[in-house]
């Protein structure tokens, strides 16, 4: 089957690649574009390790065809922060031990980022409900929730200080 031209904006940059329509977005990101932040956990839309942001929605990129993502605006963990300039969520996950092995973390943080965009001041219950599509097998979630709540506080404090 012939490949198709896929154009997307990924982390603010216009990218173009050739891919078969049946290729999954996660494979195109990781293998064709070398964006390996989003991970492949279950590949069956359960675990959330491959979560990315697509046109302002948290999406499991193992359950989107490359062809469907043509023309979309995508943000991955790489677009949120980098080692010299951590995103506040990354900072708080570090601070509050929100990770152990770290495999689920890119998906966790990318999802938490969207959650806080939509609900900047969530309760603990709202964080748990909003993060229900991401599975962690190490931490028992306690510190993940704590990290996200702390990030919300920091972000709100920064917003207030700016005003």
């Amino acid at each position: 089957m012939s490949k198709m031209h896929i154009k997307m904006k990924v982390n603010g940059e216009e990218v173009e690649t050739l891919a078969e329509p049946r290729e999954l977005l996660i494979h195109v990101l990781r293998e064709r574009l070398d964006i390996t932040g989003p991970h492949i956990g279950c590949e069956t839309s359960h675990c959330g390790a491959c979560t990315i942001d697509m046109d302002g929605k948290s999406v499991k990129s193992c359950t989107v065809f490359a062809a469907q993502a043509n023309g979309k605006d995508i943000t991955t963990i790489e677009g949120l922060g980098d080692p010299d300039n951590l995103h506040i969520l990354q900072e708080m996950f570090k601070e509050h031990h929100g990770l152990q092995c770290g495999f689920c973390t890119p998906g966790m943080i990318t999802r938490a980022h969207r959650l806080l965009q939509e609900n900047p001041n969530p309760t603990e219950d709202e964080v748990r409900f909003g993060m229900a599509g991401n599975i962690c097998r190490c931490t028992g979630y306690q510190n993940i929730v704590k990290s996200i709540l702390a990030a919300a506080n920091e972000m709100n404090a920064a917003k207030e200080a700016a005003q």
Binding site: M1, M4, E20, P21, R22, E23, L24, E43, T44, S45, H46, G48, T51, K57, S58, V59, K60, C62, T63, V64, F65, A67, Q68, N70, R111, L115, F129, G130, M131, A132, G133
Partner: protein
């Protein structure tokens, strides 16, 4: 977990999509949010060579609220249903049910049209639409027709939709009175072990209108006529609720699977149905 190869189409009108489907017959399938179809394609349980993506068709999107009725475009996502404030006021049962579907990521992609048209007995919206007595609008090469949700489901994955038709929208009268969608599931993201949607209207201590439908308790959703007859006109006493609950459980026909044996399903169904009826009465 790589699906078989296919040719991809992204038409921007309903007519354009129907033309492609008509041309390729059963080789073509439409894709909405894809969160049922893509897993089936990965498992090679869905076999197609033309995938018709509906995402660009603006006619399929949106929620229209008129004085007595609600119309929801097939490509409206669960997330859009949940966050639509006016819809939550007019038909709060939609909000209550949609929040119990899958997980946040899936709800951003999953659509109401895909959920009702797919014919998967595990999907929640078919039972809910039977509860609301919704109409499905189907468009095909020979024009438009309407099929009631209560007549749409024939068997698991078999519906009244013809191969070259697209389910374009859903419409129902704004529900009045009390409501509840109660669902028991093993974990987030799982289908229901048992779920029930209930509507109850009360006037002067009497039930003037009732509706009950079940999810994942048979090959198709089940509208519980007998239970509805027991509730309608009654005083909604504890005995009546018990009788209606038993009638609804008797209307179910669950199969044994990894969610448990039949006896367990019926046990869960009884609890879920009673809770749904009681909560709907409280809110009526």
């Amino acid at each position: 977990m790589i699906p078989a190869a296919f040719e991809y189409h992204r038409p921007d009108t309903i007519d354009g999509a129907i033309k492609i489907i008509s041309e390729h017959g059963d080789e073509a399938r439409v894709i909405a949010g894809g969160h049922s179809l893509i897993p089936m394609m990965k498992l090679r349980m869905a076999d197609l060579s033309h995938l018709v993506d509906l995402q660009e068709i603006s006619e399929l999107k949106g929620i229209i609220l008129e004085c007595q009725s609600v119309t929801i475009g097939a490509m409206t996502t669960q997330h859009e249903l949940i966050t639509h404030e006016e819809l939550a006021k007019v038909a709060p049962i939609i909000n209550e049910a949609a929040l119990q579907i899958a997980d946040p990521q899936v709800r951003y992609m999953g659509t109401i049209g895909g959920n009702v048209a797919n014919g998967d007995p595990g999907n929640d919206m078919p039972g809910l639409m039977q509860c609301l007595d919704a109409d499905y609008i189907l468009v095909g090469p020979n024009g438009t027709r309407t099929v009631k949700a209560r007549d749409f489901y024939e068997a698991a994955y078999f519906t009244a939709r013809e191969e070259e038709e697209i389910l374009t929208s859903i419409t129902f009268n704004s529900p009045v009175g009390g409501y509840a969608y109660e669902k028991q599931k093993r974990k987030i993201g799982d289908y229901a072990t048992a779920a029930a949607g209930v509507l109850i209207t009360k006037e002067g201590g009497k039930c003037t209108h009732a509706s009950i439908a079940l999810t994942n308790l048979a090959d198709t959703p089940i509208y519980c006529e007998e239970a509805v007859a027991i509730l309608t006109g009654s005083d909604l006493s504890a005995d009546v609720v018990e009788a209606a609950t038993v009638a609804a459980v008797n209307a179910s026909d669950p199969g044994e699977d990894n969610r448990g044996p039949i006896e367990f399903k019926k046990h869960a169904a009884k609890i879920v149905i009673r809770r749904a009826i009681e909560r709907a009465i409280e809110r009526a």
